[in-house]
């Protein structure tokens, strides 16, 4: 029996530390690492199912080729054939168009391991290419917090156990960050009160002392309403002048523009409730707000986050132990980036969100063609000089997750070669020409950080690659090797290397400093917590231009946004599409990565209020259709209590929608206003 | 709801017919006028049925090869007791079979089916008390086996079964099909009085079964699970077929037969027997199909 250290690379708050057990080279069990203070030896069912996933009969073990797209007739080919096909296509495109811009990469969070950025490195090594940048997830909120605080930082998750009042705002940790639940329960056991704000009654809301249903997209106004009560009740932090910037302007805006009547009417929260909750929030110290990602997937999402930040600041909860406004962090992602681009030491990552466009090297700005990941198909299709002719999809399933499927169909029809690298076939691989089998995190070296807690660790291989699968890094080396063989000098990316050495090189001096370790090898002993304080902004010195918390942000006004957090109404439903479709995460899935617990449900289940179901003459189990101008989906009806009559919910399904207001600055592209999708409903 | 338990349906119904036949033979033998041919036929047919029943029961097990272990828990398991009694019944039947062989050896001449003799004369001096005793012991053991079979289903978890219903229904099947099959087997070997008696038993069992079913059904509604069982019955076409072929038809036909001058409507008797057999098989299938246990009703 041998034990290995692994890290769950899923796009999830928890980023758990795993101890895997192997016997004679076979992975036999995975358990949580008890030495990791957030994982505490426990794993969620998704990770617990990993052994089955690694050896799943459905897993693709060999490079495969599909002669006719969507035919499903895949034939096994050798790696050499696959690499030759890819390299020849790249060289052929370069020759035809005189540039490598027809080559596009669309990669995101399928595996958040740092070594997966080898794909970006490969593409940079090839030359100027077309890239998907931005994030389909959290852009607007990241930017809002960056404007307010200067950077994107949260308290240690364990800090929440010290709170006396916890506001869970648009977040459902019971399903999406389950390791936070014992911390919240701990706070409750110590007398903390928990209030949950959400559009629907979630499993987390059920465990809160109070659940407040907020009309979708109006959370920002609710925060401003609370701020109004704080003003009226004299519950403003008297020291605001010493550490914030622009609070007078903000207070003036609240006094003149916000009325509680209007706030109550729009948000659906009674005035008395707004008043009581605000007073409680103003009077209780420490009080913590945790703002979820769903909050900002609206056209006004960035403003919503800024308004909530401002509320926390106004009440004096910033920098408070057990207080603050928590969203997420990216401070433990300061890896050297050496893998991504041997030429540009500080390069942008299109996958991991960490670098801002400001950080893009001039070189890359001039050469690469950057497309918003949330409008990728449309933008790629519209590229004419030269057109996009080859697409590599890695760590993503855009044909299941993206909005505009019609656009994708159009794009696919103009592509000469589509390469998908993945573990399993997906909606996206149905359209692919080549499938490259990749390794799981039990089969390669990697390096992982969380965007919620502060632990960083090395993931070591526990077993040899299953079948002929290869790591993204190995594939990148192999493609480069093949390119250089066919045409020497055609790719600057290394043609071979050592995974472990490569990962150690990612731990540059800044990272070693953050982690408080002397040399990169020290991290091989086990995950390390970054040496950041447990409480964010504990000395109330911020990273903004003014070094203060900025109610008034000149960087916002420079970007043609309101300098103050303001309320902008969300999109409204229309007669054609009267119902807002929400698509929150389910506890057993992450995006389109499904982890079957029990029998798989082949149908999409539409959750809606019993009253709404009655209005459409629908009963439990009925088949129905939701549709809007961009698509149609057949669903099975499941009425549940605790949802408004203008909202329907499908847990994680493809939807189409407009963009968020912020995200352009920090992440280079605006986010995806997933929750501003409206549909119509009819019985079948 | 349960499943189509073919092995159990065959085991219980065939086993009950076998023991029913022996029970009827015992009854006919009580005043020493059991026809020896009928005795032989009865023993052979019931033995065959018993063997098929026991074999069928093995198919219910995941591991028939280890069926012998089923005797291990006589202390509290009715299934263990059932197996014990059925095995003892089979042993007793072997004794009956031996008796029937002895009859054959001593009755070598003039063994025409038309020759009507009483047991006493045909036995050639062999004491009929042996025969009667054998039939009696076999019947008794068999009835204990059937009662044990029924007790298996008396489970607190299944309200529809957790009462005297299973025992009574199983015994009624034994009486009804035992009598009818003996009538068919007996044919002309039976005296008119015997025929009449058997017909009356059949009629009585049918009437009792009908009344009992009505009372039982009305009792079921007391619990949610019982009501589900009842509902299953009433909404199943199988149940209505069963009601037609094993209650209504026999009531009608048995009265017709009983009213006929010499009770000699052979074809009609065969028809009733087949109908009732079908009805009982359907009834037993429904018994398993409709079983609704108390269970976790939270959402999955």
């Amino acid at each position: 029996m041998e034990f290995h250290q692994n890290i769950c690379p899923r796009n999830c708050y928890d980023t758990c530390s795993i101890i895997s057990t192997t016997h004679n080279g076979v992975l036999i069990s995975v358990e949580g690492n008890p030495a990791h203070e957030y994982t505490l030896g426990k794993l969620c069912p998704k990770a617990l199912d990993d052994v089955k996933k690694v050896y799943s009969p459905q897993r693709i073990r060999y490079p495969m080729r599909q002669q006719v797209r969507y035919s499903g007739f895949w034939e096994r080919i050798s790696w050499d054939e696959a690499l030759t096909l890819i390299a020849e296509k790249i060289l052929n495109l370069e020759e035809t168009y005189g540039t490598t811009l027809p080559l596009a990469l669309n990669k995101y969070s399928g595996n958040f391991g740092i070594l997966h950025n080898a794909m970006e490195g490969l593409f940079t090594g090839i030359g100027a290419t077309t890239r998907a940048i931005g994030s389909p997830c959290w852009s607007a909120g990241v930017e809002a917090q960056t404007l307010d605080f200067g950077t994107f930082f949260c308290s240690d998750p364990l800090d929440m156990s010290k709170a006396k009042l916890i506001w869970l705002w648009g977040v459902n940790p019971a399903w999406t960050a389950v390791h936070q639940m014992p911390i919240i329960f701990d706070a409750i056991d110590h007398g903390a009160k928990v209030v949950c704000f959400d559009t629907h009654f979630s499993a987390t809301a059920a465990r809160a002392h109070r659940y407040v249903k907020v009309c979708p997209g109006t959370d920002g106004l609710l925060a401003l309403g609370f701020a109004k009560v704080l003003l009226e009740e004299g519950l403003i932090d008297p020291n605001l002048g010493s550490y914030t910037f622009g609070h007078e302007e903000f207070i003036h805006y609240i006094e003149t523009e916000i009325s509680l009547d209007h706030c109550s009417e729009i948000t659906g929260v009674p005035i008395s409730t707004i008043r009581n909750l605000a007073i409680e929030y103003g009077q209780t110290h420490p009080a913590c707000i945790w703002a979820g990602f769903g909050l900002q997937r609206y056209t006004n999402g960035g403003q919503t986050l800024r308004a909530i930040d401002a509320l926390g600041a106004l009440a004096g909860h910033l920098g408070e132990e057990g207080g603050g406004v928590q969203y997420a962090q990216f401070e433990t992602w300061r890896f050297s980036g050496a893998i991504q681009d041997p030429f540009h030491p500080i390069n942008s990552s299109s996958n991991a969100d960490q670098a801002s466009v400001d950080n893009l090297t001039l070189n890359q700005k001039q050469t690469d063609r950057l497309l918003n990941i949330n409008q990728f198909a449309e933008e790629a299709f519209n590229c004419t000089d030269p057109p996009v002719k080859m697409l590599w999809i890695s760590g993503r399933n855009p044909l299941s997750q993206d909005g505009n499927l019609q656009q994708w169909k159009k794009l696919i029809s103009q592509l000469d070669l589509i390469v998908v690298s993945d573990l399993f076939h997906s909606k996206s691989s149905e359209a692919a020409d080549l499938f490259l089998p990749i390794t799981t995190h039990y089969e390669h070296w990697d390096l992982n950080s969380s965007y919620w807690h502060y632990w960083v660790g090395v993931n070591e291989p526990a077993i040899p690659p299953v079948g002929e699968s290869r790591s993204d890094l190995q594939i990148a080396w192999d493609v480069s090797s093949k390119l250089n063989k066919l045409k020497p000098g055609s790719c600057a990316f290394p043609i071979s290397g050592d995974e472990k050495e490569t990962l150690l090189r990612e731990l540059g001096p800044p990272m070693l400093d953050i982690l408080g370790i002397k040399k990169a090898e020290d991290l091989l002993n086990g995950p390390v917590r970054a040496k950041y304080p447990r409480t964010a902004w504990e000395n109330r010195t911020f990273a903004t231009p003014s070094r203060r918390y900025e109610f008034f942000s000149s960087r916002a006004s420079d970007a043609h946004l309101s300098p103050l957090p303001i309320f902008i109404p969300p999109l409204n439903s229309s007669i054609d599409a009267p119902l807002r479709l929400l698509t929150p995460h389910h506890h057993s899935t992450i995006n389109s990565q499904v982890y079957a617990t029990g029998t798989a449900n082949p149908d999409y289940v539409l959750h809606l209020a019993p009253e709404l179901a009655q209005r459409y003459d629908l009963a439990v189990g009925d088949r129905a259709q939701i549709w809007n101008e961009s698509g149609l989906l057949e669903v099975v009806i499941q009425p549940i209590l605790g949802i408004s009559n203008d909202v329907v919910i499908v847990f994680q399904e493809q939807v189409e929608g407009p963009l968020t207001d912020m995200g352009q600055l920090t992440l280079g592209a605006r986010g995806f206003a997933l929750n501003e999708t409206f549909v119509n409903l009819r019985k079948l | 709801m349960g499943d189509w338990e073919w092995p159990l349906i065959l085991f219980t119904v065939l086993g009950q017919i076998a023991i029913g036949i022996i029970l009827m033979l015992w009854w006919l033998a009580r005043n020493r006028n059991l026809n020896i041919q009928l005795f032989k036929r009865g023993v052979h047919v019931s033995g065959g049925l018993l063997l098929i029943a026991l074999l069928a029961s093995l198919f219910h097990l995941g591991h028939p090869e280890a069926a012998y272990r089923a005797l291990a828990h006589l202390g509290s398991s009715w299934l263990s007791r059932e197996i014990l009694f059925f095995l003892l019944t089979f042993l007793a039947w072997i004794y009956l079979f031996r008796l029937s062989r002895q009859q054959t050896s001593s009755h070598t001449l003039g063994s025409g089916a038309s020759i009507i003799t009483t047991a006493e004369t045909a036995a050639g001096g062999q004491p009929t008390s042996n025969l009667s005793l054998g039939l009696g012991i076999t019947s008794l053991l068999g009835l204990l086996g059937i009662a044990s079979s029924a007790m298996i289903y008396v489970l607190p978890r299944v309200p529809a079964w957790n009462n005297g219903g299973p025992v009574l229904f199983f015994l009624l099947t034994t009486g009804l099909l035992g009598a009818l099959c003996t009538l068919v087997l007996g044919g002309n070997l039976l005296q008119t009085a015997q025929k009449k008696l058997l017909l009356q038993v059949s009629l009585g069992c049918t009437i009792f079964s009908l009344i009992l079913s009505v009372i039982y059904g009305s009792m079921l509604s007391a619990s949610m699970e019982g009501a589900a069982s009842l509902n299953y019955h009433l909404s199943s076409p199988l149940f209505w077929v069963r009601a037609l072929v094993s209650w209504l038809a026999p009531l009608l036909l048995l009265v017709i037969i009983l009213k006929s001058p010499d009770l000699g409507k052979k074809n009609l008797i065969l028809t009733v027997t087949l109908l009732v057999g079908l009805g009982e098989i359907l009834g037993r299938a429904l018994f398993y199909l409709s079983a609704t246990g108390i269970q976790i009703t939270a959402l999955f």
Binding site: K42, V178, M181, A205, A206, R210, A609 | Q295, I296, A298
Partner: protein
């Protein structure tokens, strides 16, 4: 019997993640069909407000186990600590226990044609460890406890929950901490 081990399940803490189910499957490499442990969601209409509450249930190691009573092959035994153990080596797959258990916890394994159920990780307990499901429970909703009067006298300890069979049938060795319903503010 000197004592009775059992489970204490806190519905307020259980978030329905099903980690216990998978941990159990991983520990014993159980195939897909038999589910020794299963997470159920409580019916919402049993409460005045929506609940989104769950409970997790495996074999309840009942004080009066029906499975043990009806089993013809003595595959079931009850240990001194109250754990009801099913010995698959004795099982002949008659399925009578699956008919007798109100919780449907002994289940047939179609591949092995034998019944299987939770044995409360007795081999772990004998080594002073906790059962796999209890160890895996992230929010700490599932505990191994000794079922006795002093536990039953504590406030908030329930013998059953809505949607469960009456505990009178088998006296299951499981106790619950039920949902405490918060206040819900909404305006429809």
């Amino acid at each position: 019997m000197s004592k009775q081990l059992g489970f204490l399940h806190n519905s307020e803490k259980c978030v329905g993640c099903r980690g216990c189910e998978i941990a159990c499957k991983n520990e014993y490499q159980i195939e897909a069909t038999p589910q020794w442990r299963k997470v159920f969601q409580l019916h919402e209409d049993d409460f005045s407000l929506p609940t989104r509450m769950f409970f997790s249930m495996a074999c309840n190691h009942c004080a009066h186990p029906e499975c043990l009573r009806v089993c013809p092959v003595k595959a079931y035994t009850k240990r001194e600590d109250g754990i009801v153990i099913h010995d698959p080596n004795r099982c002949i797959g008659c399925r009578l226990c699956t008919m007798a258990c109100p919780y449907d916890r002994p289940q047939i394994n179609p591949a092995k044609k034998k019944v299987e159920k939770c044995n409360l990780c007795y081999q772990r307990i004998d080594q002073g460890e906790k059962p796999a499901c209890v160890t895996a429970c992230i929010p700490g909703a599932l505990e191994l406890v000794e079922i006795n009067d002093s536990l039953d006298q504590k406030t908030g300890i329930l013998k059953t929950l809505p949607g469960l069979p009456s505990p009178k049938i088998t006296s299951p060795s499981i106790r619950f901490i039920g949902p405490k319903q918060g206040k819900q503010i909404r305006r429809d």
